[in-house]
Amino acid sequence: MLLTIRSLTKTFPGTLALDDVRFDLAAGEVHALLGENGAGKSTLIKCLTGAYRPDAGEITLDGAVVAPRSTGEAQELGIGTVYQEVNLLPNLTVAQNLCFGREPRRFGLVSSRGMKAMAEGMLDGYGLDIDVSRDLGTYSVAIQQIVAIARAVALSGKVLILDEPTASLDAREVEMLFDVVRGLRAQGLGIVFVSHFLDQVFDLSDRVTVLRNGRHIVTEDIAALDRVRLIEHMLGHALEDEVEARNAGHVEARRPPMLHFEGMARRGVIEGFDLEVGQGEVVGLAGLLGSGRTESAELLFGLRAATAGTARDQEGPLTLDSPRAAIRAGFGFAPEDRKTDGIVADLSVRENIALALQARRGWARPIPRAEQQRLAEMYIERLDIRTSDAEKAVGDLSGGNQQKVVLARWLAMNPRFLILDEPTRGIDVGAHAEILRLIHQLTDEGMSVLLISSELDELIAVSDRVIVVRDRRHVAELTGAGISTETIVHAIAQHARKDGEAA
């Protein structure tokens, strides 16, 4: 074995993050590391890369016991890591990024010609045909990701840890990245692959290790596992919920109309579209990244002012020129990027949940502390937010729980129309099913939902109606039995080639 971990234990105040965990990695294998958020994946990786020092246990690399104290030391030992968010400097050139810290020198000065040659040498074999003297930031995330891998491999060269490398890539880019990873596997590197996308795990991995609640659950060859059993290992219970969610929906019921949007448009952002939303209806918005999905939602929520179009409900016209106006109209919006647009990281769970409600009441009428506490506890229980208590800073929670806090913030407002932009991105299977179930529950109570999602399964499972967006235009509307993976893909695909190029 290239890398062996035995009885690794790591505690944080109040939690046992890793409990007697073992893990093996052979040279020339891709070993997937799976588990829900909070299962201990990140902690394990951070112990490997020297960001954390374990309380107990042994890490053996190439037969020698190692205890990296910093990422730099881990790199020297041969353990390199590539993270979901590329950890390089987008404002430097590709070559500068690759050679950073060990630039070739001539007469004591950095030799740009030498650097270029060195960078091209490093990228050799990755199937990239790029100009290394251009700024890294001008390339797509996939290429940046591959550059990061090339750098990590050149620096370390034994173990490569890929932590959610595909989260912001489209299908074509994922394939490109996987070709690179397979090439490295053939060269004899040991690769640890962390991902929430089970398809990709089955596609790429040789073996799988599942962690749950800081414990080692199972290590098996991928061939010996099927999807359902893998999910069972991760969740610890069978996936009845998700199955139930898939079978519901598609009841062709006439919903009393509630909101009418006509000709909503903004030049250069989205072409005019009409939208009707019925009470208790889930409208799905499908399309590729950059097709105008998020932009449609931003227009409806007043985040970008519409240059044309009207909005009205049963009582009369609505103004939607700012988020505050949209909130007054009874709208809510859980944005796609919850870290930058959703949570207020340093504030507590309680304060985050109370924030929108407080903003609507105005500063002069504070929500009494006891009432805030009651709200927080109610939603922590109702949405099953995993936190030690309501006073914990939201930034310390895992992604799925942060998403639930953002949802709780809007539910506390009791909106009539809730816009959810990628509510389940980057969160684990358990929380995923819970959020879909919650959408059902809310619409049963009469709330209307606009759901934007890249996961067609999810859209199909919960939507009453799906609108397909392409090239900044709403191009198709599917209802009832007409909603299926094939029909959506077909509608997207009519010009998909062009979209794909643009994305």
Partner: protein, 339 residues
């Protein structure tokens, strides 16, 4: 209880500085009653810390929104000049006070609009007024030191209320009112929210624009009060020297108060303790009888020591060092919370 724990480092520091000064100057803590007013070094410190303490109140709020207000020192000069001009022009006491406060609010509005509406970085936006402000003050005083002899106005600088110097009463009352305003209403929460994540707060319906402007206006108001006190104290407006470099002392007070320059969680009380610490050092050095040329160096040295002792990093290292000493060599110490 929670408040006390938050303020503990500042209280301990203040006590330590007082103790240090007492070692050099045994009469430091003496307070006596003389002619209906309290006198003594401590009372003097309470009085002299008024300008920095007032600025620190406004600065705390601005810094909580992830901003900074470099203009407050010159706003002191402007407001002092406005007040002196009004008094000298025979407009009367309250008109002078009202005009000075109006000037401070206007300065804050200017800064707030530059930051919130136009989107200039706070350090640059307030730098504009910091540089231009002294010029404005000089225009008001027509380049002279504008003096006046209104005993009513001078009361703000040297008068006594309930046995206490009026400047001390003003900053303590302002501090209490402002802190209560922040914590009894939702303002504190909303200010912290926009300081931590303005975009997310705006999406949640927080009126970040208005709040930001209001915060800079609060800072201008505090500077106006400090300007009135400064002008009243010397019975005149010195456009060149009033409030000179005080913005830096105010920022230092906020930082000694443990408030992060990156915005978010704030404590006005802690910043006020910071202002007291700075003034105690200033006065203490003089009382201890060091030659005046040593003042700034000693002050800088003490501030460095205070900031190093307060750094959270040092606390963590100390914790692990102690633990490792107690338990012998551990299997592995941790550097957690590395975020």
């Amino acid at each position: 209880m929670q408040t006390l724990r938050r303020l503990a480092p500042q209280i301990v520091t203040l006590l330590a500085v007082c103790l240090l000064v007492t070692l050099f100057f045994p009469g430091f803590l003496d307070i006596s009653m003389s002619g209906g007013r309290l006198v003594g070094p401590v009372i003097d410190i309470l009085k002299r810390s008024a300008p920095v303490a007032l600025l620190a109140i406004g600065m705390t709020l601005v810094i909580a929104t992830r901003g900074i207000d470099l203009s407050v020192g010159t706003v002191i000069a402007i407001c002092g000049a406005v007040a002196a001009w009004a008094i000298a022009g025979g407009m009367g006491l309250w008109a002078a006070v009202a005009l000075a406060i109006g000037a401070g609010l206007l300065a804050g509005l200017w800064n707030g609009v530059l930051v919130a509406v136009i989107g200039i970085q706070p350090i640059v936006a307030t730098l504009i007024l910091m540089t231009a402000g002294r010029g404005i003050a000089q225009l008001i005083t027509e380049g002279r030191i504008l003096t006046f002899t209104d005993p009513g106005f001078a009361w703000f600088g040297s008068g006594t209320l309930f046995g206490m110097p009026v400047p001390a009463v003003i900053w303590i009352v302002t501090g209490v009112v402002m802190a209560q305003l922040m914590r009894r209403t939702a303002l504190g929460l909303l200010v912290e929210a926009i300081g931590i994540n303005r975009r997310a707060s705006a999406l949640a319906g927080v009126n970040a624009l208005v709040l930001l402007i209001a915060v800079y206006m609060a800072s201008g108001l505090c500077a106006a009060l400090a300007g009135i006190i400064t002008a009243a104290d010397i019975r005149g407006a010195d456009a060149n020297n009033a409030g000179l470099w005080l913005e830096l002392d105010a920022i230092l007070a906020v930082v000694i108060g443990g408030n992060s320059l990156l915005g978010g969680r704030f404590s006005i009380a802690a910043a006020l303790l910071g202002a007291l610490i700075i003034q105690t050092i200033d006065t203490g050095i003089l009382l201890a009888g060091f030659p005046s040329e040593y003042n700034l160096v000693i002050k800088a040295g003490l501030v460095v020591i205070i900031l190093v002792l307060q750094s959270p990093r040092l606390a963590t290292e100390w914790y692990f060092w102690r633990r490792s000493v107690r338990e012998g060599p551990p299997p592995a110490t941790t550097k957690e919370h590395a975020r």
